[in-house]
C-alpha cells in the first residue's frame, strides 16, 4: 500500500506538472509541489468523470504524467530544486511533513471502516465505482435501495479510493482509506509552505493536523473539507499580501477540491467568492478589475481556474443526466416554506443560532478573539491583513449559509443539527482560525515592520 500511495503521489505530481509549467509560476518547492499534486487530483477526477474504465483513466493519467515529466526534464524545476536544497529550514520541514504523513498513514490504515458516513456514503460509493470499473451511471446510482447513501454527493475521494482498490486488485475495509492519506499530501506541503518558527504557525499546524482528530482517518469528509477550505483561505491571503501567482492558483485548486469533497464545499466556494468580491471595494487586490486583469494577462491562471471548476461542472452535468438531486433542494417552494415557517416560529432561530455558534462550535469565542487582536492591532496602527478579512467574511457567510440550510431542512431540524451541526460548522471555525493566523503573523512580524511574510522571512539573510 505504501508503494501504491508513493507511486500515486508521484503520478499526481507529474500530472499537475504537465498542466502548469513551473517556470511560468515562480515559487518555492513546497508551494509548487502542492499545487502540482492538487492539480493532479483534479485532473484525475475529471478523467474519472468522463465515465471511462479505470484502466483507460490510468493510461490517460500516465500519458499526462509523461508530459509532466518531460516538462520537468526540460529544466523547469532545476532552479526550484536548487533553492530547496539551499534552504535552511527545509531540513526540519521535510522531516516533519514525512513524520506527519507517516503517522496518518499508519493511523488511517490501522482501523477498518466503522463509522456511518465512511461505510454508508463515501466508501460505499467507492466500492460501487470499483465494482463497475468506472464512474458511470450503470454503477447503479439511481437504484432505490441506495437512496440512504446520498448518491448525489461528489465523488472525488470515492473515485481515488476505487482507483487504489483497482491497483491492489481487491477490496477490503482498510486499503481504500489510503485515499485519505493521499489527500493529506498536498495539504501538508501547502501548510508547511507557511513555515515560520512562531506561535501562529504552531497554532496552524495543531489546528490542521491535530485539531480535527478522527475526521481525518475515520472516513468522514468533513475533516478534509475543513482543511482544504483552510488552505484556500491561507493561500489566497498570501496572494493578497505578496501577489504570487502560485498562491492564486493554489487557492483556486483548493477551492475546486473542497467543492468536490462534499456539498458543503460548494457553499464554501460560493461564500469564498462572495467575500472576495465584496472586499474588492476595500482591497484593490480582491477587486474584479484586478482579478480580471490577472486572468487576461496570464492564460495559465485561466487554465487553472477552468481545471478547478471543471470537476464541479462535470459532476453537475452527470447528476442532471442521471437524475440525481439533493433532497435538501429538490423542492424550492417547500424549502422556502420550511425556512419561513421556522424563521418566524419564535424559538427555532434562537435555538439554532445558539447551537451553531455557542453550544456546538467555538465560533462565538473565536469571533471575540479576532476582535481582540484587531483592536490590539489598531492600537499599533497596523493595517488589517486582507487575508484575515477574507477569512472572517467567508466564515460569517458560511455560517449564515448553513444557518439557512438547517432552517430549511426537510428532516427533523433538531435531529439534523445535532447529528451534523458540529462537523459542518467546523469549516467556519477553522476559517476564523485562519484569520487569527494572519493577524498573529502580522503582530509577530511587526517589530518595526508592518508585515513580514513567510517568504520574506525565508529570504532574510
Amino acid at each position: 500500500m505504501f508503494i501504491v500511495l508513493s507511486l500515486s503521489t508521484v503520478c499526481l505530481f507529474l500530472m499537475g506538472s504537465a498542466a502548469v509549467p513551473f517556470s511560468r509560476i515562480p515559487g518555492r518547492f513546497f508551494e509548487q509541489a502542492a499545487l502540482a499534486i492538487g492539480l493532479g487530483i483534479l485532473i484525475d477526477y475529471c478523467l474519472m468523470l468522463t465515465g471511462q474504465p479505470i484502466a483507460r483513466v490510468f493510461a490517460a493519467a500516465l500519458l499526462v504524467g509523461f508530459l509532466g515529466a518531460f516538462r520537468l526534464w526540460r529544466g523547469a524545476r532545476v532552479q526550484s530544486v536548487r533553492r530547496m536544497l539551499e534552504s535552511r529550514t527545509t531540513v526540519i520541514s521535510i522531516a516533519v511533513v514525512i513524520y506527519i504523513l507517516g503517522m496518518y498513514y499508519i493511523r488511517a490504515l490501522s482501523e477498518p471502516l466503522v463509522r456511518w458516513d465512511g461505510r454508508s456514503i463515501w466508501f460505499f460509493h467507492a466500492r460501487m465505482i470499483w465494482i463497475e470499473g468506472a464512474l458511470r451511471e450503470t454503477a447503479g446510482w439511481t437504484h432505490p435501495s441506495i437512496v440512504f447513501s446520498h448518491p448525489d454527493y461528489p465523488l472525488l475521494v470515492p473515485a481515488i479510493a476505487a482507483q487504489l482498490a483497482y491497483l491492489k486488485g481487491y477490496w477490503n475495509e482498510f486499503l481504500p482509506k489510503g485515499s485519505l492519506v493521499l489527500m493529506l499530501v498536498p495539504i501538508a506541503l501547502w501548510v508547511f509552505s507557511f513555515r515560520k518558527m512562531t506561535l501562529s504557525f504552531i497554532l496552524l499546524v495543531l489546528a490542521i493536523f491535530a485539531g480535527l482528530g478522527a475526521w481525518q482517518w475515520n472516513g468522514f469528509m468533513d475533516g478534509y473539507l475543513v482543511i482544504y477550505s483552510a488552505v484556500a483561505l491561507l493561500t489566497f491571503g498570501r496572494y493578497l499580501s505578496q501577489g504570487n501567482t502560485v498562491d492564486l492558483c493554489s487557492a483556486m485548486v483548493a477551492v475546486g477540491i473542497a467543492a468536490s469533497l462534499k456539498n458543503e464545499g460548494l457553499l464554501f466556494a460560493a461564500c469564498f467568492l462572495a467575500s472576495v468580491l465584496a472586499l474588492g471595494a476595500k482591497y484593490p487586490e480582491c477587486s474584479v478589475t484586478s482579478l480580471g486583469a490577472r486572468l487576461r494577462s496570464d492564460y495559465l491562471v485561466v487554465g487553472v481556474l477552468l481545471l478547478s471548476i471543471a470537476p464541479t461542472l462535470m459532476w453537475a452535468v452527470c447528476k442532471k443526466a442521471w437524475g440525481l438531486q439533493s433532497e435538501l433542494v429538490d423542492d424550492p417552494f417547500g424549502t422556502f416554506t420550511r425556512l419561513s415557517v421556522r424563521l418566524f416560529d419564535g424559538t427555532t432561530p434562537q435555538y439554532l443560532l445558539n447551537y451553531l455558534t455557542v453550544q456546538a462550535t467555538a465560533i462565538s469565542l473565536l469571533t471575540l478573539v479576532v476582535a481582540a487582536i484587531v483592536i490590539f492591532q489598531r492600537s499599533w496602527r497596523l493595517k488589517l491583513h486582507p487575508g484575515a478579512a477574507v477569512a472572517a467574511l467567508t466564515a460569517a457567510l458560511y455560517v449564515c449559509g448553513l444557518y439557512a440550510t438547517y432552517l430549511s431542512t426537510p428532516y427533523n431540524l433538531y435531529f439534523h443539527v445535532t447529528t451534523s451541526g458540529t462537523r459542518t460548522m467546523t469549516t467556519g471555525t477553522v476559517a476564523l482560525l485562519v484569520g487569527v493566523f494572519f493577524l498573529l503573523s502580522d503582530l509577530e512580524a511587526s517589530g518595526g515592520r508592518v508585515e513580514q511574510t513567510a517568504h520574506e522571512w525565508q529570504s532574510t539573510p
Binding site: M1, F2, I3, V4, L7, V10, V78, V81, L85, E86, R88, T89, T90, M103, Y104, I106, S110, P112, L113, W116, R119, F124, R127, M128, E132, S145, S149, Y170, W171, N172, E173, L175, M197, T198, I202, L203, L206, A207, A210, G211, L212, G213, A214, F220, L365, L366, V369, I373, T422, R423, M425, T426, L433, L440, L443, S446, G447, G448, W457, T460
Partner: protein
C-alpha cells in the same frame, strides 16, 4: 554540477519507485500480494529516505571528494535491474492460501493470501494473532523438484492435515488429534508438481509443520523458494531464488552505504554552523516584547477554546493532545505488530468483522447460493443499520422488493408458500415463489 547530481539521484529514486510500484501493480491484478513486496518496499523506502536526507543536507554541506556515493548508486542501479527482472520470473513466490472460518473448507474463504512459508506462526499471523477456535486452511500451488528420487513428506499437525501431490493423497494425517507426525514416500520426477496441503483445527492447540527429505536423507522444512503459485520449471525457480538473494544482499549494501554517506555528511563543520543559524532564526520573528506577550496570551486563550474536533467537544488543547496520543498509540501498535498491519492491508475482505453478525450471515448466504436479487422481511429491514449495511456490503447484489430470495429473522414464523434455503444464527434465507 551539484544540481545535476542531485537531480540524478531524484530521478533514480523516482524510477525505483515507479519500478517497484509497477511490479506490485502488475502482479497485484491477481488479487494476491507479491511475495517480495516487503523487499521492494524496503529498498524504495531507502531510496526515498536517502534522497530526502541528501536534499536536506544540501550539496554545499559536504566536501567535493566525499560527494560521490558510487557504491550506493551502483547498488541502487542493480537493485532496480533485479527488481525489473524478478516479476518476470513467476516462480518461488509461495502457495495460494485459503483460510476458512469453519472446520470444513466450506464456502468462500475468510482470508486469502500467498504464503511463502507454511507454519503455525504464519497461520496465527494470518488470523491477526487471534485464530478462531475452529478453522481450516488450504494451500495450493506447485512444488519444484530438481532431482528425480524418492521423497519422504511429513506433516506434523494438531489437529488434522492432508497432503496431495499431483492430485494423489500422499500423507493422510486427518481427523481431530493432538500433535501427531505422519510420513509417506513418493517418487517424483524433476519438474513442477501440483501440490495441495489441507489443515483443520477443531479447537485447542493449533500446530502445523511440513517437512521433506530425499532418498532417505534428513528431514527439513520445505523451503519457500521451491513453492510457486504457477507451474514453473526448476531452472526458473532457481533463477528466482538467485534474484531474491541478490535483492536481499543489495538491500543490505544500500543500508550500509547510505549510513556511511549520511555519517560523512554529518561530520561536516558546515552542518554545525547551519544548526546554529537555525537557532538564531527562532528568536528573530519576535522583535517586540509586547507583540510576543500578546501572541502568547492569544495562543493560551485559543488552547482553552471549546473545540469541535473529531475527538469530542473538548478544549482545543485536549482535543490536540488526544489526537496526538491516539495517533502515536496506533503507530506503536503497528510497529509492534507490522505483520498484522500488513496482513490487514493485503487480505481481500479484511475488516468485515465490523459488520453486524446478521449482515455477515446474509452476505455469506448470498454468495454461497449465488443470489443476485434479494428482499428483506420487515423485521430485518426495521434495523436501519442492518438494512444499510447489507445493501452496501452485498452490492452489486441488489435489494429488490419483488425478489424471490428473502431474508427473515430466525424468530419469525414461517411464511406460507416459502421454503427455507439456509438458516444461520440470526437470519434465514427463504425462497418465496
Amino acid at each position: 554540477m551539484a544540481v545535476a547530481f542531485e537531480l540524478t539521484i531524484l530521478v533514480a529514486t523516482a524510477v525505483a519507485g515507479l519500478l517497484t510500484g509497477g511490479t506490485v501493480v502488475a502482479l497485484g491484478r491477481d488479487a494476491l500480494p507479491l511475495v517480495q513486496t516487503s523487499t521492494a518496499a524496503f529498498a524504495w523506502l531507502l531510496c526515498a529516505g536517502f534522497a530526502g536526507l541528501r536534499m536536506a543536507l544540501g550539496s554545499r554541506l559536504m566536501d567535493a571528494r566525499r560527494r560521490r556515493p558510487l557504491l550506493l548508486l551502483t547498488a541502487i542501479s542493480f537493485w532496480m535491474l533485479l527488481g525489473l527482472v524478478r516479476p518476470t520470473l513467476r516462480a518461488g513466490d509461495g502457495l495460494t492460501a485459503h483460510y476458512f472460518a469453519n472446520a470444513a473448507w466450506d464456502g468462500q474463504p475468510a482470508r486469502l493470501f500467498v504464503d511463502s512459508r507454511i507454519s503455525t506462526a504464519r497461520m496465527r499471523v494470518r488470523w491477526n494473532g487471534r485464530p478462531p477456535a475452529r478453522f481450516s486452511a488450504r494451500w495450493v500451488g506447485y512444488l519444484a523438484v530438481g532431482h528425480a528420487g524418492r521423497y519422504r513428506f511429513t506433516t506434523t499437525s494438531d489437529d488434522g492435515s492432508q497432503l496431495f501431490i499431483d492430485g494423489r493423497l500422499v500423507v493422510d494425517n486427518s481427523g481431530p488429534h493432538s500433535r501427531l507426525a505422519r510420513s509417506a514416500e513418493i517418487d517424483l520426477a524433476p519438474g513442477s508438481h501440483r501440490v495441495r496441503l489441507d489443515y483443520v483445527q477443531f479447537g485447542g492447540d493449533a500446530e502445523l509443520m511440513w517437512t521433506w527429505a530425499r532418498d532417505g536423507g534428513p528431514d527439513s522444512r520445505v523451503p519457500a523458494w521451491v513453492l510457486s503459485r504457477r507451474a514453473a520449471g526448476y531452472d526458473t525457480v532457481l533463477a528466482a531464488r538467485f534474484v531474491d538473494v541478490g535483492l536481499g544482499i543489495l538491500a543490505v549494501v544500500i543500508v550500509l552505504s547510505t549510513g556511511r554517506y549520511v555519517v560523512v555528511g554529518f561530520q561536516s563543520e558546515r552542518i554545525r554552523q547551519g544548526i546554529e543559524r537555525i537557532r538564531a532564526d527562532v528568536t528573530r520573528p519576535y522583535r517586540d516584547g509586547a507583540a510576543f506577550a500578546f501572541s502568547v496570551v492569544i495562543f493560551g486563550v485559543l488552547l482553552w477554546v471549546p473545540w469541535p474536533g473529531g475527538i469530542g467537544h473538548w478544549s482545543f488543547y485536549r482535543s490536540v493532545l488526544s489526537t496526538i496520543r491516539d495517533v502515536h498509540r496506533s503507530a506503536a501498535k503497528a510497529v509492534g505488530a507490522p505483520t498484522v498491519f500488513q496482513a490487514n492491508l493485503n487480505t481481500p475482505r479484511a475488516g468485515e468483522e465490523v459488520l453486524p453478525v446478521s449482515v455477515r450471515e446474509m452476505v455469506a448466504m448470498l454468495e454461497a447460493h449465488n443470489v443476485e436479487r434479494y428482499a428483506l422481511s420487515d423485521r430485518v429491514a426495521a434495523n436501519v443499520w442492518v438494512y444499510q449495511q447489507i445493501v452496501a456490503s452485498a452490492w452489486p447484489r441488489r435489494l429488490e422488493r419483488d425478489a424471490k430470495a428473502r431474508f427473515v429473522h430466525i424468530a419469525e414464523p414461517a411464511t406460507p408458500g416459502c421454503s427455507q434455503i439456509e438458516s444461520r444464527t440470526e437470519v434465514s434465507l427463504v425462497h418465496c415463489p
